[in-house]
């Protein structure tokens, strides 16, 4: 019950982690089935239709329901702690954001049980996804599920921007922010400016499908290219929404475990901002083969390649941070270090794809699949694993087992490269993506087998991680405040796990790497910026859960044309909004004598 009503960012972080992890397993299972189907030529483990459903759901699930929520898990768990805050700016919305994501994801995945699954690809290109070609309810699940989940993402973006702007501890200026906080700040800005575009696209396609609108119905003047523009104006920034947080995690991990200050901090900040800005200018590199013409292709080509410059700055800064450091090869750091060359390879193939004439060869082949998995799995998922291992003791008060951690790393790392490295060559040889099988004897057979073996190895890595989690659960909570002993930022100054109010006294920050600076001066705690006093906390609320259930019901109503059900769902949601606005939440106070008891989160 506690968990259904919580507005505590640390608990919401854990909820995001469990739900995101759950969807990660579903997406992973889908991936394994895909790889089994492609293991050998003319295989018939699944039918062609099912295959389309599998790749659609795999991509959609991994991006929207696994990767993003796992990032939200880490940002919820860490950001308020890193900036010395007691909570986020809007705890209620934070909980609402989680529940809308969760029920949106649930709705999407219920399509498997309804027997009509989205099958138009994660990009949902029209006319493939339009009512003429796709008359079942499959794509409706995609459209409505993602809209509901998208609300949560947008709320999260706004929340974290406001939190980071308004709630930093005294002395924590922008140019002293830890790199992870910086990257989340920029990511949140990307979310705020990119997600509404997706919302409009989804609404438009929903109107086409449910109410016979004509946005994308070519026969009535609609335009399929319009969908591509809308999707990628959102979609390209989205890939940076995914990777920038990973950059932030790597910066923290690499500098902690090299026992050195992050090299080139201000250039890191600048590069992050520049990448985000350029991220909005390059969407049409996904549309080189659409026929926009040589001028457009040329401009988007050059703009895309420009992104490699700030990205290169980041790579070199990480290398210089490692250079000469006293490096500790913890599991977190192994993922951090493994990230660097892997992501570089993804960047290199990115620049290859950015060359418009060359893209005519690569486009819609396995080369593209290899590219984005190098950046998304080799970049983002490595980043998430690094972050989970690094902050686990802070979140749960227990250290993950390092031996199992190393097994996780090596199986996942090797499995990853086995799976995706060969796909570059499959693509160059002409194997198309999104096709459910292939003829033997075209030079594809062995590499596909290798790829499938690799996928299983990644599965082993994931299972090892889960085992580690279960084994760790049984252990006592004995992690100290600063369990790695080399912590640099504020989260390492408070108990693991932190009490529900995080900081008994807001700390005073006197420089970059605030905690490290104090430690170097021989201090054992931060200087407080305020006297001990009563701490105000927001009260828990069940409303976010009910509001999300309302949307969930409304979604089904719209989908199956039961306007009564749809209306009922919306009434529930708006009713909760009315209740929320009529009854103020005064919260409660934790008095100093109770603080000593160290109320656990």
């Amino acid at each position: 019950m506690d968990w259904l009503t919580t507005v505590d960012h640390k608990k919401i972080g854990i909820l995001y982690m469990i739900a995101g992890g759950f969807f990660f397993l579903i997406g992973g299972l889908e991936a394994i089935i895909i790889r089994v189907q492609l293991m050998k030529p003319m295989n018939d483990v699944v039918a062609g239709d099912t295959f389309n459903e599998l790749i659609t759901m795999h991509g959609t699930t991994m991006i929207f329901l696994a990767a993003m929520p796992l990032l939200f898990a880490l940002m919820n768990a860490v950001i308020p702690l890193q900036i010395g805050a007691r909570d986020v700016a809007f705890p209620f919305l934070n909980s609402l954001g989680f529940w809308t994501f969760f029920f949106g994801g649930l709705l999407l995945n219920l399509s498997w049980f309804a027997g009509t699954v989205p099958d138009a690809g994660w990009t949902s290109y029209v006319p493939l996804a339009g009512p003429t070609f796709n008359s079942g309810h499959g794509v409706d699940y995609y459209v409505i599920g993602l809209q509901i989940a998208g609300i949560g993402t947008l709320l999260g973006g706004i929340n974290f921007m406001a939190t980071i702007i308004n709630m930093r501890a005294p002395g924590l200026t922008f140019m002293r922010l830890p790199m992870f906080t910086w990257s989340i700040f920029i990511t949140s800005a990307l979310i705020v400016f990119a997600f509404p575009v997706l919302t409009v696209g989804l609404v438009a396609i929903m109107f086409d499908r449910l109410f016979q609108a004509n946005f994308f119905e070519v026969a009535n003047g609609g335009s399929g290219v319009l969908w591509e523009h809308i999707f990628w104006v959102f979609g390209h920034p989205e890939v940076y929404i995914l990777i920038l947080p990973a950059f932030g995690i790597i910066s923290e991990v690499v500098s902690t475990f090299s026992r050195k200050r992050l090299f080139g901090y201000s250039s890191m900040v600048f590069a992050t901002v520049l990448i985000a800005f350029l991220g909005f200018m390059v969407w049409a590199h996904h549309m080189f083969t659409t026929g926009l013409g040589p001028v457009a292709n040329g401009l988007f080509s050059i703009a895309t390649m420009l992104i490699a410059v700030p990205t290169g700055v980041k790579i070199f800064n990480w290398l210089f941070t490692l250079w000469g450091g006293s490096i500790r090869f913890t599991t977190a750091n192994l993922f951090g270090i493994g990230f660097i060359p892997t992501f570089v390879m993804g960047g290199v193939t990115g620049v290859m794809l950015a060359s418009a004439p060359a893209d005519f060869q690569y486009h819609d082949s396995y080369f593209v699949v290899a590219h984005f998995h190098y950046v998304i799995v080799g970049g983002l998922v490595f980043g998430i694993f690094a972050g989970l291992h690094y902050w686990w003791p802070k979140m749960f008060g227990r250290m993950l087992n390092e031996t199992i951690g190393k097994i996780t790393f090596w199986t996942f790392f090797i499995g990853f490269h086995l799976t995706f490295f060969v796909q570059h060559f499959l693509g160059l040889l002409g194997m198309p993506r999104r096709v459910y099988t292939y003829l033997g004897g075209q030079g594809y057979d062995d590499m596909n087998m290798i790829s499938t073996v690799g996928a299983f190895l990644m599965g082993v890595g994931t299972i090892a991680f889960l085992l580690n989690v279960f084994i760790t659960w049984a252990k006592p909570r004995n992690a100290t405040n600063d369990p790695w002993e080399d912590g640099r930022s504020l989260e390492w100054t408070i108990p693991s796990p932190p009490p529900e109010y995080n900081f008994q006294q807001t700390p005073l920050v006197r420089g970059y790497d605030a905690w490290w600076k104090e430690k170097m001066e021989g201090k054992t705690a931060m200087t407080p910026a305020e006297p001990i006093g009563s701490i105000h906390m927001p009260s828990p609320s069940i409303l976010p859960l009910i509001m999300s259930i309302g949307l969930f019901i409304a979604g089904f109503g719209f989908m199956y044309d039961h306007l009564l059900v749809a209306g009922g769902g919306l009434v529930i949601t708006f009713g909760c909004m009315v209740i929320r606005s009529l009854f103020d939440d005064h919260g409660y106070h934790i008095e100093p004598e109770d603080q000593e008891k160290g109320v656990k989160a």
Partner: protein, 205 residues
């Protein structure tokens, strides 16, 4: 600084910014408006891309009735002014005047909505239905989205008035008035764009 400091009616000069939560709310709301700007921007882009694709239906030039739209525009612009008066009254801690101006704002908003609904009925009558063409779909979506925002604003402000009656003007209710006023200006600005891009450009082709 907690909300308990001001229960006795001694409101600070800018009561809408007195607490951290209030400042968070205002900042968060501006960020939300950033997202809304992108939302409307995308709807405008879609409309611009599709506005000549009229299929068998009527064109913009044939159906738009500028005098009526102009009247609606004037009403909405006036309502922005009255909401400014409401915020001024807020700053002078004149509760009655503030509520009065809020009510005027709501009435103007409702008149705007009435005109818009009437307008839509007229158009449908002339064969310009939601499903007629890409132009009509994108028209109703863009203008209708704005209309829904106006309707939401009307309900929202009414509920804030209810709270003012119940709790008076406090550091909790003041930010709500202030934020809803920002919202109201925002939908007004969006309407100015709609008037220009949809109606004026529709008339000149």
């Amino acid at each position: 600084m907690s909300s308990h400091d001001h229960v006795d009616g001694h409101l600070p000069h800018e009561p809408e910014k007195a607490t951290l939560q209030a400042r968070n709310n205002i900042l968060g709301f501006w960020l939300f408006l950033g997202a809304e700007t992108v939302l409307f921007g995308t709807l405008f882009s879609a409309f611009l891309a599709l506005r000549h694709n009229i299929g068998d239906g009527p064109s913009a030039n044939e159906i738009f009735q500028l005098p009526m739209v102009f009247a609606a525009t004037m009403i909405l612009l006036t309502s922005s002014l009255t909401s400014v008066f409401a915020v001024q009254a807020l700053h002078q801690h004149k509760k009655k005047a503030m509520v009065g101006w809020l009510i005027v704002t709501i009435v103007l908003g409702l008149s705007f909505l009435g005109l818009e609904i009437y307008e839509f009925f007229e158009y449908v009558h002339e064969g310009h239905k939601f499903t007629t063409s890409a132009f009509s779909s994108s028209f109703y979506t863009l203008v209708g989205f704005h209309g829904a925002h106006v309707a939401f604003g009307v309900v929202w402000i009414s509920m804030i008035i209810g709270q003012i009656f119940k709790k008076g003007l406090t550091v909790v209710t003041a930010p709500k008035v202030y934020i809803s006023a920002i919202y109201w200006h925002f939908i007004d600005v969006v309407w100015v764009f709609i008037f220009t891009v949809v109606y004026l450009m529709g008339k000149v082709g």
